[in-house]
Symmetry: C2
Subunit: 197 residues, 2 copies
Amino acid sequence: METPEHAKLLQFFKALAHESRLKLLGLVAQREHSVQDLAALVGLKEPTVSHHLTMLKNLGLVSQRQDANTHWYALEPEAVANLAKRVLSREQIASLAADSAPDDWQAKVLETFVAPDGVLKSIPASRKKRWAVLAWLVRQFEDGRRYSEAEINARLKERHPDSATLRREFIGYKMMARESGVYWRLPERDWVSEAAA
Amino acid sequence: METPEHAKLLQFFKALAHESRLKLLGLVAQREHSVQDLAALVGLKEPTVSHHLTMLKNLGLVSQRQDANTHWYALEPEAVANLAKRVLSREQIASLAADSAPDDWQAKVLETFVAPDGVLKSIPASRKKRWAVLAWLVRQFEDGRRYSEAEINARLKERHPDSATLRREFIGYKMMARESGVYWRLPERDWVSEAAA
DNA sequence: TATCTAATTAGATATTTATCGAATGAGGGA
DNA sequence: TCCCTCATTCGATAAATATCTAATTAGATA
């Protein structure tokens, strides 16, 4: 489940999320500088500047060359541009969410409300948790197939006595649709947004 | 001396320099989410998420609309793109250094090495400090005018007995040029780079 | 009105990260 | 070789910022 891509982007932002480092980048963007110069220019001690520069160098944002024992640092302009480009697209940003763990939460809700034998202990009061339980329930119906109200009720009764409420909630949460007494599942993409009221 | 432009850029990087906020941005990039949802999805408590969202909202990175007492957050894609674009150009980055205060440092060096009456207490040993003192000295010669070695020596002797060393250093640091016994100042842009050896 | 839910604000604590002084390493000269 | 300069690494302290619980605000509904 490793996503070094995300990790690198995070590193990039962290690197730039500090005033001193932005100033250092600005200075080396103008021309090469030695560590000593930079320390004087930004008003920090050399070890501190060295530390920041190492961080920037590891990310490839600055280059370093050595002349005698003076180390000259300069900007690596393409690297900055390349990394910056990544944040431009909405898709890139959306992909950042990949690490999230919604299933953990949902699993915990189900553990709380569903007994080991599969019977609902109670119907959660809070919208979000009720949604989680209903999502679990509705997935036990076949997608694409059409059910009569009686069928629905029969199945739901295996989980909880108040099948009428559950059936009504399926409609309310837009997990199912109904027409003249016939029910069917709606595509998940329309209700996983957890919107309903 | 305020530069809100830089400040905003810094804020932008700080906002994105945190794993939780990147995840939140990723989630709201996919679709609208409530605070509760987001808290569950990233595994944090609601106040924490609320805090992060406020930060993102203040920067204009996310939008917020309210339906009953549920607050829906979504990505503001253009804002992200616009801010990200700023880091693309080298000039932008170079401008980040504007806040640096080299003059403070130079003033301190001069205070250390120059007595109140304008006489040099000593010639600094370290390259950088020596540069600072020489820069101060060379600026006391007229730009464009040509000086004989005798003139140079006479003027320098008012500052320090070892005029020969100072004169030689002017050449070494490329602050002055010499041709057949005549000296003149070189443009500052060629030696403010503090490069010389 | 009393109550429920969602969100925010406030205040305290924990974690992360910057900074410094001191010690160490490395490269040239005298 | 000894010394001098520049830079880095190490270890400890200081500053910034994330996170939580508890309390508060606001909207909706019975």
